[in-house]
């Protein structure tokens, strides 16, 4: 919602008259057909497999089947991380994004609401016809993670048949919800007249976008926004000022210890989008060197992540690991820096908001 709002009144069309306007259409089309739609399809498929694994566990509950559910959760989470950067379009409607993953949850709403629901045995709140009206914090990946991994909850999945049956209702409700939202996202992008078609027809004047540049700015800001979120929220917020100050439970997926993997998936998705979308556009304006620099910087940040010796939730609690995570943060910031300076300039786009001041 914010980006269109902002861009309506920005518009630097007159600011750089010397520069031939880049043709943004290939960027928009390649990215939509590739990383975005492909990413949503993978997420949908992983959520479908997760749902099947839950059905399998609930039909014949044992530890092996539970492990398959956990693997299904990890895969669905990974699938979502690949498209997490896409903060605009159909994911904004009906709170779809927040319903898949409400995070960060600074008031602990997810835990509080899940505990209340468990205490009151309100499994019906997650039935298919009711879940769209339920709190966003109890119907997505964090709620599922809590049921599968929280110290106070995980043991209850196989505690006794009654408990297993109750928890199966919750697991099934959430897994089905994720599968359904994944399907909606795929359909909204690819259906005739959907988002992909709309992005192709901006020149017709019949879309919410003033021009292709505005849509490209939105995409560009979403990429930059993901980098900022990685540096400032996924890392800084949990890392604090030192290893002693670090708060592992502020990490994104601390219970399943997937927080570093999440960042890897985020960066891989961005790198793909850089290669498929931004690099050709940069080449078209004679800035192949900047494209190379950007992709090198993305590779550097992935390489820094590969240096971690343990899950990030463990690394941040001792000085050496904390330093390694701080390096990751610096490398990610460097990628953001290249986008917001060199590349924004070359492509006549701008980062339309900042996240600089603390409070």
């Amino acid at each position: 919602m914010r980006l269109p709002l902002l861009l309506v009144v920005t518009g630097l069309a007159l600011a750089s008259p010397a520069l031939a306007a880049p043709d943004y259409r290939p960027l928009l089309n390649q990215t939509a057909a590739g990383p975005i739609l492909g990413g949503y399809k993978s997420f949908q498929a992983s959520a479908a497999r997760l749902e099947q694994s839950v059905q399998g566990f609930c039909a014949a509950p044992d530890n092996a089947a539970l492990d398959r559910v956990k693997a299904g959760f990890v895969a669905a989470l990974a699938g979502w991380q690949k498209v997490q950067w896409v903060g605009y379009g159909p994911v904004e409607a009906f709170h779809r994004g927040q319903r898949v993953q409400f995070w960060p949850d600074k008031k602990n709403a997810g835990d509080r609401q899940m505990l209340a629901l468990i205490k009151d045995r309100k499994a019906d709140a997650l039935e298919a016809h009711r879940i769209p009206f339920a709190s966003v914090a109890i119907q997505g990946l964090p709620a599922l993670e809590m049921l599968l991994y929280a110290d106070s909850q995980a043991g209850k999945l196989l505690a006794n048949p009654e408990e297993t049956a109750f928890r199966c209702q919750l697991l099934s409700g959430i897994a089905n919800n994720l599968h359904r939202i994944g399907g909606e996202l795929v359909s909204e992008w690819e259906k005739p007249g959907g988002t992909i078609d709309m992005l192709k027809s901006i020149d017709s004047g019949a879309t919410p976008y003033a021009d292709n540049r505005q849509a490209a700015s939105q995409l560009f800001n979403a990429l930059h926004g993901q980098l900022t979120a990685i540096a400032e929220v996924k890392l800084s917020y949990a890392l604090g000022a030192s290893a002693e100050d670090a708060r592992p439970s502020r990490a994104e997926s601390w219970r399943s210890q997937q927080s570093a993997a999440n960042i890897v998936h985020n960066l891989e998705a961005l790198r793909e989008t850089f290669a498929i979308g931004l690099a050709p556009l940069l080449s078209s304006v004679g800035k192949t060197d900047q494209a190379d620099k950007l992709i090198r910087a993305a590779d550097d940040s992935l390489a820094a992540l590969a240096q971690l010796m343990a899950p990030m939730e463990v690394e941040m609690t001792h000085a050496e690991g904390w330093k390694r995570l701080n390096v990751v943060k610096a490398k990610v910031k460097a990628v953001a820096q290249i986008l917001e300076t060199d590349i924004a300039n070359s492509l006549d786009l701008q980062v339309g908001f900042n996240a600089l001041d603390g409070d």
């Binding site: 709002l5 902002l6 920005t10 630097l12 007159l14 926004g225 908001f353």
Partner: protein, 423 residues
């Protein structure tokens, strides 16, 4: 970290607006009205806080259902002018820095006093002091260090405010006092507010334990509120630093300050953090005045404050008026249609907020309206959010028309891209 959205006038609009249109409205006079209204609102807030202090003293001297009800009524009345002052918070750095002392929210009330673990929970990954219960513990442990809390006074409250760097550790201001007076609301999104018995303040027939410490906490928090409000009254007074900074600066920078305050409160703060988030979570803890169920009034008077700053016309609690040249006049001189649009949008917001107040007053409180599966209630809240977003859009056009350059409005994770989140 707060996220900001920048609003910049495009070159095209700048050219179109032209220099000739400035006719007749003196920007300094607009700023002067703005400062006068700020001073009046903080002075009214101070008067109402002193009245609250009198009621609190009466309560602790003779705790009864009547004296408690009177203190609660005084708190509700104290919120009326204060909420209208929130339009000054964003944009004026001195106000924004100070604000956390008087209106910090949301809070983890288990830091202060007893709570029901069934509804509150017993721990939080975010806050090590989630259930520290200051009132029951003369000795506390904060960030690994022990702290002597044997004397509950203003000093202790100030020391423990945001303890451990956690914003939800709130020990001062309106909401700490609210929790003292009402207690935890254990009704979820069902009917009913907090229901603390007056005997919680009765040192002779004490309920809830440690009544002497609870009394001391309430009195200290109320005294601090009075002290803190005095700071703001002084700051906006004839010789106040905040007023001076505004009036001695560049007039356009001052006008940008006004617009920043109105836009940020409309959009990121009220529509986003205080309303949309609660609606998405259907969570009574996300209700602004969650203990007292007074949220409808808080939101209503926030919106009212935006409207009266725009119009340059504030009705004080004694019924007198403060008015003068306004942002509205300034915009009307350049683009009368835009001014009319802005006024209509502000009025539409007041209508939508009025629906919330009316609904609450007829027995369905705000936390019920945001409840899951209350489609009509949800729709009423969403209508107010939409109205606030719409008035923000018009305000952005005003930024362009006034050629203010870059103006930043507070954004919100709940309204904007959910992944580009701030701390």
């Amino acid at each position: 970290m707060k996220r900001m959205m920048m609003v910049a006038a495009s070159a095209a609009v700048l050219l179109a607006a032209g220099p000739a249109a400035a006719a007749g409205v003196d920007k300094k006079a607009v700023l002067s009205t703005y400062a006068d209204i700020a001073h009046a609102k903080y002075e009214d807030s101070l008067v109402a806080a002193k009245t609250l202090k009198v009621a609190v003293d009466a309560l602790v001297a003779a705790p009864s259902a009547e004296t408690l009800a009177a203190a609660k009524a005084a708190w509700v009345a104290a919120r009326v002018p204060y909420q209208q002052s929130e339009a000054f918070r964003f944009g004026n750095a001195a106000v924004d820095e100070w604000e956390g002392k008087v209106n910090a929210w949301p809070l983890d009330e288990g830091l202060i006093d007893y709570v029901n673990p069934d509804t509150y929970g017993t721990e939080s990954g975010e806050n090590p002091l989630y259930t520290a219960n200051i009132i029951a513990h003369p000795k506390l442990k904060v960030a690994g260090k022990s702290l002597n809390a044997s004397k509950v006074d203003k000093k202790l409250l100030e020391k423990l405010h945001e303890a451990g760097g956690v914003e939800a550790n709130v020990t001062t201001g309106y909401h700490a006092i609210e929790f003292m007076l009402w207690g935890q609301d254990t009704n979820g999104t069902g009917p009913g507010a907090g229901n603390r018995p007056a005997s919680d303040f009765d040192t002779k027939n004490c309920t809830g334990g440690n009544c002497d410490r609870r009394v001391a906490f309430l009195v200290a928090a109320t005294d601090l509120l009075v002290d803190d409000l005095k700071t703001m009254v002084d700051g906006w007074g004839a010789k106040g630093k905040i007023r001076a900074k505004l009036l001695k600066g560049k007039p356009d920078a001052g006008i940008a300050t006004i617009v920043t305050g109105l836009g940020s409160l409309s959009y990121g703060e009220l529509a986003g953090e205080r309303m949309k988030l609660g609606l998405m979570l259907h969570d009574p803890e996300e209700e602004h005045d969650c203990f007292s169920d007074n949220t409808h009034n808080s939101h209503f008077y926030d919106a009212k404050g935006i409207q009266n700053v725009y119009l340059g016309q504030y009705t004080r609690i004694d019924g007198t008026q403060v008015k003068g040249p306004s942002l509205s006049d300034l915009i009307a001189a350049k683009d009368a249609t835009l001014d009319a649009d802005m006024k209509a949008k502000l009025e539409a917001t007041m209508t939508a907020m009025g629906v919330l107040v009316k609904t609450a007053e007829s027995g369905e409180s705000y936390d019920q309206m945001i409840g899951a599966e209350n489609a009509p209630g949800n729709a009423k809240v969403q209508a107010a959010i939409d109205a606030l977003v719409a008035q923000t859009r018009s305000l952005e056009k005003a930024v362009a028309v006034l050629a203010l350059g870059e103006v930043k409005f507070e954004g919100s994770d709940s309204l904007d891209n959910p992944t580009a989140v701030g701390k």
